[in-house]
């Protein structure tokens, strides 16, 4: 799905290294690129080589993508830091699996910190998009390439093993011919009829590096103002709001339907952008909602962003299943029911 959406977004360069559970994406992209006259697919010798090939191809002006899972994303962090520093657009897909270490290949959400806190060395952020359905995967992949170009920064699509293996009917956006995209006036394509250009991250002069850090920070602030986004479900009258993203949000939705059948006023707040975190929308919701239940397929990572956003305005509760365990909607419905009564939300 992401592979088709990427090609339709004008992506013409993919480099990656095999790792489960995301090989379908690489395999699809290999075929898709082979069908294109101007498409390049490289099975790289390592995750590190793959991300560095993206650096080169992005310098040369192409829309570029790589994909991996946790252990591979860790290896790519050096290159991602360079992409951020050199302000190069790139799309990176992380199909999260159980960890740390080799962990397992089951769906998990333990890479939230790695994705939203920069991940590599130095003062930077990456945009992180969290699709929760096949249709959204297709739409957000297009968005990822647009954001990468507009803000000249690496963009993550953060999915999990469940999203990676999912089969759903999807309507794809119309394909874009990369030649129809606006020209990038900063690329390296040979200094013909113009002064030579340099793309670099080494800034030995401390005041120059400081200026660069503040410039990036202003860009990140602009991104925060412009793209932070969340989706809500049945929150109008909600007394308890479950906060979850990706596959966890889908499970939560099922649980909320069950809870509603029992007459519990429960809703869902689903961040679509994990960085920037949709803080404003959450704070707005805390005017009417005094109890939030954060549900993650981890030991509690987005939990920190929820607490940082709410700054004690509401009660923040947590339920998590790490290790590749996929909760059922019934399990989460029970957690909701217990919490709802413990907090006396059933009383007027």
């Amino acid at each position: 799905m992401i592979g088709e959406a990427a090609v339709r977004a004008g992506c013409r360069f993919y480099a990656g290294y095999p790792i489960t559970p995301q090989n379908e994406l690489a395999e699809y992209t290999a075929s898709a690129m082979a069908r294109l006259e101007d498409g390049t697919f490289i099975q790289a010798e390592s995750e590190i080589a793959a991300i560095n090939m993206l650096i080169g191809a992005s310098m040369a002006g192409a829309r570029v993508m790589t994909s991996s899972s946790g252990p591979g994303i860790s290896l790519k962090q050096e290159g991602i830091s360079f992409l951020a520093a050199m302000e190069l657009p790139a799309v990176i897909v992380n199909t999260m699996r159980g960890g740390p270490g080799l962990g397992n290949i089951a769906p998990a959400q333990g890479d939230y910190f790695q994705a939203t806190r920069g991940g590599g060395h130095g003062d930077y952020r990456t945009i992180v998009l969290a699709p929760a359905s096949g249709q959204e995967l297709a739409g957000l992949t297009r968005k990822a390439f647009e954001y990468a170009d507009e803000y000249k920064t690496p963009v993550f699509i953060l999915g999990d093993g469940m999203m990676g293996q999912m089969m759903e009917p999807v309507e794809f956006p119309e394909p874009i011919d990369p030649r129809s995209l606006p020209p990038k006036p900063w690329i390296l394509d040979g200094a013909k009829g113009r002064p030579s250009r340099i793309i670099k991250s080494l800034l030995l002069d401390t005041s120059v590096e400081e200026d660069h850090n503040w410039k990036l920070t202003r860009k990140y602030e602009r991104i925060t103002r412009e793209i932070a986004r969340a989706d809500t479900y049945m929150t109008t009258d909600a007394r308890l709001v479950v906060t979850a993203y990706g596959t966890a949000a889908r499970i939560a939705k099922g649980a909320i339907k069950r809870a509603r059948e029992l007459g519990l006023k429960v809703g869902l707040f689903r961040p679509v952008t994990l960085w920037p975190f949709p803080k404003r929308a959450l704070v707005e919701m805390s005017r009417q909602v005094k109890d939030f239940l954060v549900f993650e397929m981890s030991t509690g990572q987005m939990l920190e962003d929820v607490k940082l956003s709410l700054e004690g305005r509401s009660n923040v509760h947590f339920y998590g299943r790490p290790g590749g365990i996929i909760s059922t909607p019934d399990e989460i419905a029970k957690v909701i029911n217990t919490l709802y009564h413990r907090q006396h939300l059933n009383e007027d």
Binding site: A44, I55, G56, D189, I198, K200
Partner: protein, 251 residues
């Protein structure tokens, strides 16, 4: 009327090299700039400098230059070349960069037959970080991390990277030269020219390894450093054409 017989090459910026006196980088930069001008490819060249002493190469070459993380020059150059196959792409890398941390990227770029050119500057030490042992440090050679000299039983052997790259089926031209004497400098210029031409003809991966003096870290005078290349380095790293599948194929 006086005739100008020596001047700054067109593709070197009006900047003062930061390199130490007697360092080979300045000579190699000049050679590459001259070749770019002679081949008339200045508007088509994209260079990829390394991490190391030559990281600031982009301040000297007046062509498009894109920085690479340490050791990843061959991968970055691969990305550029695949998107812009009609441009001339070269990476410029030191021995630590290419033969230690970047070994995998280099071997696989050569094996894929990436149509790029690599300039491999071998001075046998990590220069910028202060003279630690490099993969190419000679047996017995002193460095700041091989007290008493490189002990091959403790520290391993100097790595013959160029010979390894010659085994890779995608490489077409690999030569080892030096810049310690006028004769060797001329030979280096011919080798780099040939490497660039191989790329222009779309033949595959080309590399020139250049033995280059580092008087500062070798703790020798400039003259003695040049002598040391001749007397010691070439015994481990003989100057020769290591692989040539170009002859006859070049236009």
């Amino acid at each position: 009327m006086a005739k100008k017989v020596f001047q700054r090459p067109k593709y070197l910026k009006k900047a003062v090299f930061h390199y130490c006196p007697g360092c080979g980088h300045s000579i190699i930069h000049r050679l590459i700039a001259e070749i770019i001008e002679e081949l008339d490819i200045g508007e088509k060249v994209i260079g990829v400098p390394p991490a190391g002493c030559a990281v600031l190469a982009y301040d000297y070459f007046d062509v498009d230059m894109g920085e690479s993380p340490h050791g990843r020059g061959a991968a970055v150059a691969t990305g550029i070349k695949r998107i812009l196959p009609d441009r001339i792409v070269f990476s410029y890398q030191g021995d630590g960069d290419i033969a230690a941390i970047g070994t995998a990227e280099t071997i696989h770029a050569a094996n894929r037959g990436e149509n790029i050119t690599t300039i491999f500057v071998n001075n046998g030490v990590y220069g910028m970080t202060g003279g630690q042992m490099a993969p190419t440090t000679l047996a017995g050679q002193n460095s700041t991390t091989t007290p008493g000299g490189r002990d091959v039983k403790r520290d391993g052997f100097p790595l013959d990277l160029s010979e390894m790259l010659a085994i890779a089926r995608g490489s077409v031209y690999i030569e080892r030269t030096a810049v310690n004497s006028p004769k060797n400098i001329m030979r280096t210029k011919r080798a780099i020219t040939k490497a660039f031409k191989a790329q222009m003809d779309g033949l595959g991966f080309s590399l020139v390894e250049i033995l280059s003096p580092c008087p500062t870290n070798w703790k020798l005078s400039s003259v003695d450093a040049c002598k040391w290349v001749e007397e010691s380095m070439v015994k481990t790293f003989p100057l020769k054409v290591i692989k040539d599948e170009v002859e006859g194929a070049i236009s």
